[in-house]
């Protein structure tokens, strides 16, 4: 936790300094960055320049020809990514993106304006790759690639959560996420990652998930959740793992298996699939939907992602169902099929319950849990008692990636509105495609950069506070595992009294199961606002 | 800005950027500027302090006699002949007594007056309501008392028509040209959408000529300077009983009428 109180942290000065930004050297402030990638993590996945180092040191132990490596990497990527090439050239610095970034709004640091974040890279691009930059030099806004510049890159490109909010407003669609991804690839050429990404990547590569849960740990975690479910509902559930011949492979971020409140969402999945009698299986090999590889490099993303199709093929399932996760869905929607497809060994997904064909996933063969559930609710295939969520006043946080990298906006809302009675939207410029990041995405949800996370989450928290004050909202729902972890911290700091919940948990609370007990509590053990409460309320209103 | 030979050259040399750069460079900016021409002499203009007209109805024995005046005006000023009364353009025309002088009509006038047609035209008032209301100064009163219209500036709002107590103004409801039988090439027509009216032939006065109607009236229309004691107009006003249209409105018309008697 930051030492600063919310009142102090929210004193933000948006006025930039007098001197030109290029003249302001990077100042790495503690609490605003993560630890550098460890030797071990890099070695595990065979990344260059593994060594013992600390980002706080002056010497980052770079290879002698580091400039050459970076510039060669840039040249290569200019040819491999038209997006990168175009985005380096066409920005007019109109400033529309400036106040769209949650990190800028939370820190006031001008280099957190998306345009300047990109200029950090562009300034070098102009010097090395454009005629104008070579001739006009500084006049064209170009500069040399020095070690300070490199450090600045490292500092600021690990202060971007690739949330794409700026891209929505950019008249040319310049996407800072894309620039950050390339910049991080370049940094990784020199072994300059952060451990909070490199570690999970190594874990995921070797053990199948970010948390590094080994097969037996996964089953025991789920067993624990099954006990909890039985305690609340009286229903006994027996899921299967790595089962060949199942119809559906279910993949969710591993965070849901381990950390509250994600575990409740995970319980929701288990309950839902049991209630439906779904022929599905978990996998311990492909036990990660998320993909910290994609925060590292395209190649690493692909290496981690490959397991899902590989496992689906091995198990012989018909299609894949994906859990609630943010960047996981950007990867699944925009990258997976291109990387590791074609998935011609699978079939176009069909809901076994409603018969709905998921045409929009005809090629990837992977369906979002919210799409799946919304379809069930639309066809009234689950019995719902929304009053079981009456003790919650719910708002919904659109996760960046499903909203701006996919367009999944209505499905979760449809579910929420069906399963709870008190739903309130946050202000319109902070939801849907204009949603604010939790401030901890793209691998930044470490503890050492807590100030950065709290600052980055300020705009989101501020919008929650608005509905909290206005409507008494006490529950922030979302469909992202990082959100569930990050927003909880964020809420405790900025808006105490608001908890975080997965949409499937809300659903599971309200869902009536075969052979269940009369539920007295929700999945978290909180007492439901039962009939008595309601009556009392009415009485008091009459009086 | 004004362009005659002297003024033009003065003005051109002094404008904006050119003044700053000095005259040697001026030629490069605006090639073809040359030296001034010889001095000029005064014109032959008729001038007055207040032009006025007396209409001697006794001197119009027949319809033909006053129609001549109307025709002279129409021909010289390219006034269209439009059949549709609603769209008529009239500078000078004839009206019955009860219409020309509605406020003094008592219903029992002599038969000759009842039949008589009075020439009516813009009164070129001393205190013209039309000038007061015009939002662009397209109608204005000159120093010599003539109420003139600047057809280049008129926006066609027709406020002046609502203000004129004499119905002296006409509006071009459509392009007048197709309705002009014999075009006088030395006088412009008007464009659609502007108001027009009699201007006491201001251009003719400048050339030393009398207004067209006066010239054609055979002495029935007397024209001159109201402020000049010896002018025809003053002499007539001194000797004859005259009336003006709607004197109660305080517009002080510049057109006087001799109706009867001697």
């Amino acid at each position: 936790m930051s030492n600063l109180k919310p009142d102090e942290l929210s004193r933000i000065n948006y006025t930039p300094p007098e001197e030109d930004w290029m003249a302001v050297p990077v100042q790495m402030r503690k609490g605003m960055y993560c630890h550098g990638a460890s030797e071990n993590s890099l070695t595990t996945v065979g990344f260059p320049n593994p060594r013992k180092w600390s980002s706080a040191d002056t010497d980052w132990k770079l290879p002698d020809n580091w400039q050459e490596i970076v510039l060669k990497g840039m040249a290569e990527r200019l040819e491999k990514y038209r997006s990168f090439h175009i985005f380096m050239d066409i920005c007019v610095r109109c400033g529309a993106c400036a106040d769209k970034c949650h990190f800028f709004l939370g820190t006031g640091d001008p280099k957190n304006m998306p345009v300047l974040r990109a200029e950090l890279l562009r300034s070098v691009y102009r010097r090395e790759f454009t005629t104008a930059g070579k001739i006009l030099g500084k006049l064209s806004g170009s500069r040399q690639l020095t070690e300070d510049v490199l450090k600045e890159w490292w500092y600021y490109f690990f202060q971007c959560t690739e949330c794409r909010r700026c891209s929505v407003f950019c008249p040319y669609g310049i996407d800072t996420a894309e620039i950050t991804m390339i910049a991080r690839e370049l940094l990784n050429l020199l072994g300059l990652n952060i451990e909070w990404i490199a570690g999970p990547v190594a874990n995921c590569y070797m053990k199948g998930n970010h948390l590094g849960l080994e097969p037996h740990t996964i089953t025991s975690s789920i067993d624990f959740l099954l006990d909890e479910i039985e305690e609340v509902t009286g229903v006994k559930i027996e899921p299967t793992f790595n089962r060949k011949g199942a119809e559906i492979l279910f993949v969710t971020p591993s965070g849901d298996l381990f950390a509250d409140p994600g575990t409740y969402t995970c319980m929701g999945y288990l309950m839902l699939f049991h209630q439906l009698g779904l022929d599905y299986t978990w996998s311990t090999y492909a036990s990660e939907g998320g993909n910290f590889g994609s925060f590292t490099s395209n190649e690493m993303g692909k290496r981690l992602n490959s397991k899902i199709y590989a496992e689906a093929k091995r198990l012989g399932v018909k299609w894949i169902l994906g859990g609630e996760c943010g960047h996981m869905w950007r990867v699944l929607n925009q990258y997976m099929d291109t990387w590791n497809g074609p998935a011609d060994f699978l079939q176009v997904p069909v809901s076994p319950i409603t018969g709905t064909v998921f045409e929009n996933a005809a090629s990837t063969k992977m369906v979002h849990i919210s799409e799946f559930t919304a379809d069930l609710l639309k066809h009234n295939k689950i019995e719902i008692d929304p009053s079981r969520n009456d003790h919650y006043k719910v708002t919904y946080h659109d996760s960046c990636n499903p909203s701006r990298g996919m367009g999944l906006l209505e499905e979760p809302r449809y579910i929420i509105k069906k399963v709870c009675n008190n739903f309130f939207e946050m202000p319109e410029n902070t939801i849907r495609e204009k949603t604010f990041c939790c401030g901890s995405g793209s691998g930044l949800n470490a503890s050492e950069d807590m100030e950065l996370r709290l600052r980055g989450g300020f705009p989101r928290a501020n919008a929650v506070k608005h509905v909290h004050d206005k409507h008494g909202v006490n529950m922030l729902s979302c469909i992202c595992a990082i959100d569930r972890a990050a927003l909880t911290t964020l809420m405790d700091y900025w808006v105490p009294g608001v908890k975080v919940i997965g949409v499937t948990e809300l659903l599971a609370n309200a869902m009536k199961m075969k052979g269940e007990n009369d539920r007295e509590t929700d999945l978290r053990g909180e007492p439901l606002s039962g009939a008595q409460d309601g009556e009392e309320k009415e009485d008091s209103e009459d009086a | 800005m004004s362009v005659d030979r002297r003024q033009f050259l003065k003005a051109a040399g002094a404008t904006g950027l050119l003044g700053l750069l000095g005259s040697p460079l001026f030629k490069i900016f605006a090639p073809g500027e040359l030296e001034a021409s010889p001095e000029l002499k005064e014109g032959m203009a008729k001038s007055a302090k207040r032009w006025a007209m007396v209409v001697d109805m006794k001197a119009f024995p027949t319809e033909e006699s006053y129609n001549k005046c109307i025709e002279a005006c129409n021909n010289i000023h390219n006034i269209p002949h439009i059949e549709n009364e609603k769209h008529e353009i009239k500078w000078i025309w004839a009206e019955k007594y009860e219409n020309a002088f509605p406020d003094s009509y008592n219903g029992y006038v002599s038969e000759s007056i009842e039949k008589m047609k009075f020439l009516v035209l813009c009164n070129n008032c001393e205190n013209p309501p039309c000038v007061r209301v015009c939002p662009t100064k397209a109608t204005f009163k000159r120093e010599d008392g003539i109420v003139v219209m600047d057809y280049h500036r008129c926006i066609g709002c027709r406020f002046c028509m609502a203000a004129c107590p004499y119905g002296a103004r006409s509006f071009n409801w459509r392009d007048p040209r197709p309705f002009i039988k014999n075009l006088n090439p030395s006088y412009p027509t008007r464009t659609k959408g502007v108001v027009e009216k009699c201007n006491f032939c201001a251009d003719r006065l400048y050339r030393g000529e009398l207004p067209a109607c006066v010239e054609a009236s055979n002495g029935a229309l007397i024209f001159g300077d109201l402020k000049d004691e010896n002018s025809n107009v003053r002499k007539t006003l001194r000797s004859k009983f005259t009336i003006t249209r709607k004197p109660e409105l305080g517009t002080f018309p510049g057109v006087y009428y001799i109706i009867g008697g001697s």
Binding site: - | K86, K90, N99, V133, C134, T136, A162, W173
Partner: protein
């Protein structure tokens, strides 16, 4: 907030498309008029202003009537108008826009419109009309927009807005006063030459404008989730009732002066309008229709049972509005030109082309009104959600 006007149900879009279609027809009719000249209208050498200017006069009144909600709310802290002040201000904006458009289409040489600014002429009432109208438009846009957006952002409106609000109150009176001066200062037009013209205009405006606002409020209550509030509507109805009575009273004063003094010039236009003059009387049915509506409306508004019944209230408000629209948006202007200064009679009736242009302008007004009301209502509903 503008983008809120760009989303809506299919009924909303059907309505917008309908308006756009009418606007298109109006524009086509105007282009025709532009090329042919104003001869395409029913106006003439004698009746040189017609439907356009009459509509202008009427809508100046509607625009000015916004003050009837702004004034009680801001000066007298009349709380129940709080929910509808924005509706009043947003009614003024399209009204003024319509006024300007009606003047524009009435111009013989619209391409020279800038002459009014290039050659400012303070002795012309029309010059002042341009100033007060554009000023009033700006005031309402700024005041309405800034207070709505502050409201929307849940921040206090900026301090400089208060003086503008207070300025807009006398300004509203000024627009209709100046418009009355357009007429009442003309020497030869006895019908208009009356010192009470400005107050007569204002009283009829304060009846017709709020009557329209009542209708709009009831419509909004019915088709949107926003409820302007019964108490606000009641307040408006009271204003309508007394303004209408005063307005009728003023007409009575004019009639007395004209007919008791028995000065022909003063009587003729009234005679033409209500009884016919020398065999001419095209407007007689319309004028009596208007009179009948006004009297019925007074009764409906005075009797408590019909005043509180929503159906009869709607009828009364429609009657008020239509009655005054006929009176001011037609009879008043045409009547002033008949007979002409030579005491001849040329009658006037608008032509189809003229009506199409007029319909186009109404549609532009309604389009602006719809968009503004849509924005205001969406904002209000969102805030109350």
């Amino acid at each position: 907030m503008i983008e809120k006007a760009l989303s809506g149900s299919k009924y909303y879009w059907a309505w917008i498309c309908f308006l756009l279609a009418v606007i298109l027809v109006g524009v086509a009719a105007y282009i025709r008029q532009f090329h042919y000249g104003l001869g395409l209208t029913g106006m003439s050498r004698d009746v040189s202003w017609g439907f356009y200017i009459a509509q202008f006069t009427f809508f100046v009144g509607v625009a000015a009537s916004a003050v009837m909600v702004v004034l009680p709310y801001y000066l007298h802290d009349f709380k129940r108008f709080g929910r509808i002040t924005i509706l009043g201000e947003f009614l003024a904006i399209p009204s003024v826009i319509m006024c300007m458009l009606f003047i524009f289409v009435d111009m013989g040489q619209p391409t020279r419109i800038l002459n009014v600014i290039l050659h400012p002429t303070p002795n012309s009432v029309m010059f002042w009309d341009m100033i007060v109208l554009s000023g009033y438009l700006m005031l309402n846009i700024v005041v309405g927009w800034v207070s709505l957006s502050s409201h929307y952002k849940l921040v206090h409106p900026p301090k400089w807005i208060k003086p503008l609000v207070f300025l807009s109150i006398p300004w509203a009176f000024s627009i209709h006063t100046v418009t009355a001066f357009l007429y009442s200062g003309l020497p030869a037009r006895h019908f208009w030459l009356s010192a009470i013209m400005a107050v007569r205009f204002l009283s009829s405006a304060f009846a017709s404008g709020p009557a329209l606002l009542v209708l709009l409020c009831l419509l909004i209550k019915r088709i949107t989730k926003f409820d302007p509030g019964d108490r606000a509507i009641k307040g408006l109805v009271t204003i309508v009732t007394y303004a209408l009575i005063v307005s009728i009273f003023f007409v009575g004063l004019e009639l007395f002066t004209a007919f008791y003094s028995h000065i022909p010039g003063h009587m003729q236009s009234f005679k033409y309008l209500y009884f016919g003059l020398e065999g001419h009387g095209k407007l007689i049915p319309l004028m009596w229709f208007s009179t009948l509506l006004a009297i019925t409306a007074v009764l409906l508004l005075l009797i408590p049972a019909t005043r509180t019944n929503q159906t009869t209230l709607v009828i009364a408000c429609i009657f008020v509005h239509v009655s005054l629209w006929v009176d001011k948006g037609f009879g008043f202007v045409i009547g002033g030109f008949i007979p002409n200064p030579l005491e001849k009679i040329t009658e006037y009736w608008p032509t189809l082309n003229e009506l199409l242009v007029t319909a186009g302008i109404w549609s532009i007004g309604m389009l602006v009104l719809t968009a503004l009301y849509r924005i205001a209502i969406v904002v209000k509903v969102e805030l109350e959600a």
